[in-house]
């Protein structure tokens, strides 16, 4: 065992590799791996042709499309606004800054059902915002736009909290140097600030995206939940469960998990590849 452990790791001066890795693997297995393998095991009980029929019928495909598509849009919006919020919080001093800073985390703490009901109340055709938007022909509640809105709400803190600390650590001397070498403000932003922020941006984006894909509580209130149109994949899972179709529910869950894992893995590799390229330069 110790021979194997020695072979698998690079020599380190810090002791305790065996025990920390052991605890990590045990905890990870109990909390993450075992429940997930149970999921795949249950889905496997369905048999190949039934699995394909359940997991890839047109209704399920529409639900994946909505869940992943809307999550992508929401994460992109959050990427932009989240970065802007982080920028404002780090770079400027103004009254109420601390309160604003604390507000950012609220979507983390708020029960998602509350968020969903609040957003629906505001954006329903008779709500405060909805009644203004309705005459303009813009419908938010009970449409795909509503789904995206809920996802933006719950995902915003992830980008802000990923970008903020990196931005704080960014030394202003670097920007001053760029300026004194004749770079315009836009050039400084684009060529100096942005590249240093990129890893934080990517991980914030990935977190917001993953959170949005899995979101259920707030979306079912604001989406119309119409099959094929505004039905998110997690709702389809719940529907299968309520029909006592456990295997069908796990089939859809497995597909979601695999897509999510592949996407997050790609994002992770992208990050890695970029970093090694930077270091090699």
């Amino acid at each position: 065992m110790s021979v194997l452990a020695h072979r698998l790791r690079e020599p380190s001066v810090i002791p305790g590799f065996g025990i920390t890795l052991g605890v990590t693997l045990t905890a990870l297995s109990l909390v993450v791996l075992i429940p997930l393998s149970a999921l795949f095991l249950k889905a496997a009980g369905l048999g190949f042709s039934d699995f394909i029929a359940t997991a890839f019928d047109s209704r399920a495909m529409a639900a994946y499309g909505l869940s992943f598509g809307a999550a992508l849009v929401a994460a992109l919006v959050n990427l932009f606004f989240g970065t802007l919020v982080a920028w404002v919080l780090v770079r400027y001093r103004f009254a109420g800054k601390r309160i604003l800073d604390a507000l950012i985390d609220l979507p983390f703490a708020l029960p998602t059902a509350v968020a969903g009901i609040a957003l629906t109340t505001l954006f329903a055709p008779n709500g405060a915002f909805g009644s203004v938007l309705e005459p303009l022909g813009i419908k938010v509640a009970f449409t795909r736009l509503g789904v995206i809105l809920a996802m933006i709400f719950i995902g915003l803190p992830f980008v802000v909290r990923s970008v903020q600390p990196v931005l704080e650590d960014l030394e202003s001397e670097v920007e001053e140097a760029a300026a004194s070498l004749g770079a315009s403000r836009l050039q400084t932003l684009w060529l100096v600030v942005l590249p240093s922020l990129l890893p934080a941006l990517i991980s914030g984006f990935a977190l917001a995206f993953a959170r949005a894909v899995g979101e259920y509580g707030s979306i079912i209130f604001i989406a119309g939940n119409m099959p094929g149109q505004t039905e998110i994949a997690p709702l389809l899972i719940i529907i299968k469960l309520e029909q006592y179709n456990y295997a069908g529910a796990t089939a859809i869950a497995s597909v979601m998990l695999i897509i999510s894992f592949v996407l997050l893995f790609v994002i992770n590799r992208l990050q890695h590849w970029r970093q090694s390229r930077m270091e090699g330069r």
């Binding site: 329903a124 055709p125 099959p227 529907i239």
Partner: protein
């Protein structure tokens, strides 16, 4: 210090829902569906009084509410319900079938198909009925928005769906293809599919979406009281369905808890005069002819079809209409 401690523990006890002075000799858990909250709050208190008078024993009944499908699944997955009082027989069948907690013929154990009260499906429309919606045939017209929950997740929604189907079936001389066409047209008019009956009521009432809400009669009456008769009104279609929400003791659980005596008495008390009166007060139609006569003025009579004669029972209806790949999937597929 000790005062503060006792205040704290009292607060805690209250928060947890226990009154510290009452010591319960027996506790029952009644797992029910969405709109029966108010009914069972009242009934539980009445039963506790009755049981105390009769036996001297203090019985506490805890309630759990939610969509009928979800509730049945919770019992199957191990929620220890002494009694279940659900929206339709199919969900209790599922408990019997999947978990074996009660015998297959459970529905024969109590009178009236084990349904101490009944209800039906009615329309709730905006005040003055601006779109003149009088019957099921008006709901399929273009431009009418119908609010009903998803029959895959809501028991009430299944009754809604079947009532509409029953009407179309009758109009078209039992032609199933035509019934399917009008069902398709009806669901094309549905802008939001909530997961439960209460969700749909909220969509219609709070969000102001839709021209008509298909609702349990008791939910419709409740909505009248909650939001006022000046905002909405009830319309009775020419034909609807007799909804029989059944009740039963969960045998394996009561035998484990030793609460069979109390659980059976609890359900039987639903059939008593007081139980029937409470049901009527909460807008469920009582079975007792005397109570119905005395308090039944609010329940207008209308033609009611039953699930057994129109659809050949729940098992068959479920299989044909609501299972994956059934007719509901076909008509909502784009």
């Amino acid at each position: 210090m000790s005062l503060r401690l006792s205040t704290a523990s009292l607060t805690l006890a209250l928060l947890l829902g226990f009154a510290p002075s009452v010591k319960a000799d027996a506790t029952l858990l009644n797992v029910s569906y969405d709109p029966t909250r108010e009914l069972y709050q009242d009934f539980n208190a009445a039963f506790a009084r009755h049981w105390k008078d009769k036996t001297g024993e203090v019985v506490t009944v805890n309630q759990s509410h939610g969509g009928a499908g979800k509730q049945a699944r919770a019992v199957i997955d191990g929620l220890e319900a002494d009694v279940v009082t659900l929206a339709l027989a199919y969900d209790i069948d599922a408990i019997s079938e999947k978990a074996g907690l009660l015998p297959k013929d459970w529905q024969k154990r109590l009178a009236h198909n084990s349904s101490p009260y009944t209800s039906t499906i009615v329309f709730l429309v905006r005040k003055g009925n601006p779109k003149a919606l009088k019957d099921w045939s008006d709901l399929v017209k273009p431009g009418v928005q119908v609010i009903t929950p998803n029959p895959k997740t809501s028991g009430g929604a299944r009754w809604n769906y079947l009532a509409a189907w029953g009407y179309a079936q009758k109009q078209n001389g039992n032609d199933q293809a035509k019934a399917q066409d009008s069902s398709k047209a009806l669901y094309a008019n549905v802008p939001v599919l909530d997961t439960g009956a209460r969700g749909s009521t909220n969509t219609f009432v709070q969000r102001g979406i839709g021209d008509v809400l298909l609702a349990w009669e008791n939910e419709a009456f409740l909505a009248l009281d909650e939001i006022g008769r000046d905002k909405v009104e009830i319309v009775l279609p020419s034909l609807s369905i007799l909804a029989e929400p059944p009740v039963t003791v969960v045998d394996k659980v009561v035998d484990k808890h030793g609460t069979r005596k109390q659980a059976e008495a609890y359900l039987n008390y639903l059939y008593s005069k007081e139980g029937q009166e409470i049901a009527a007060k909460h807008f469920y139609r009582p079975r007792d002819p005397e109570v119905l006569k005395r308090l039944g003025a609010r329940f207008p009579s209308l033609t009611l079809i039953t699930i057994d004669e129109a659809f050949g029972g729940w098992q068959k209806a479920q299989k044909t209409h609501f299972e994956d790949g059934g007719i509901f999937d076909a008509i909502t597929r784009k």
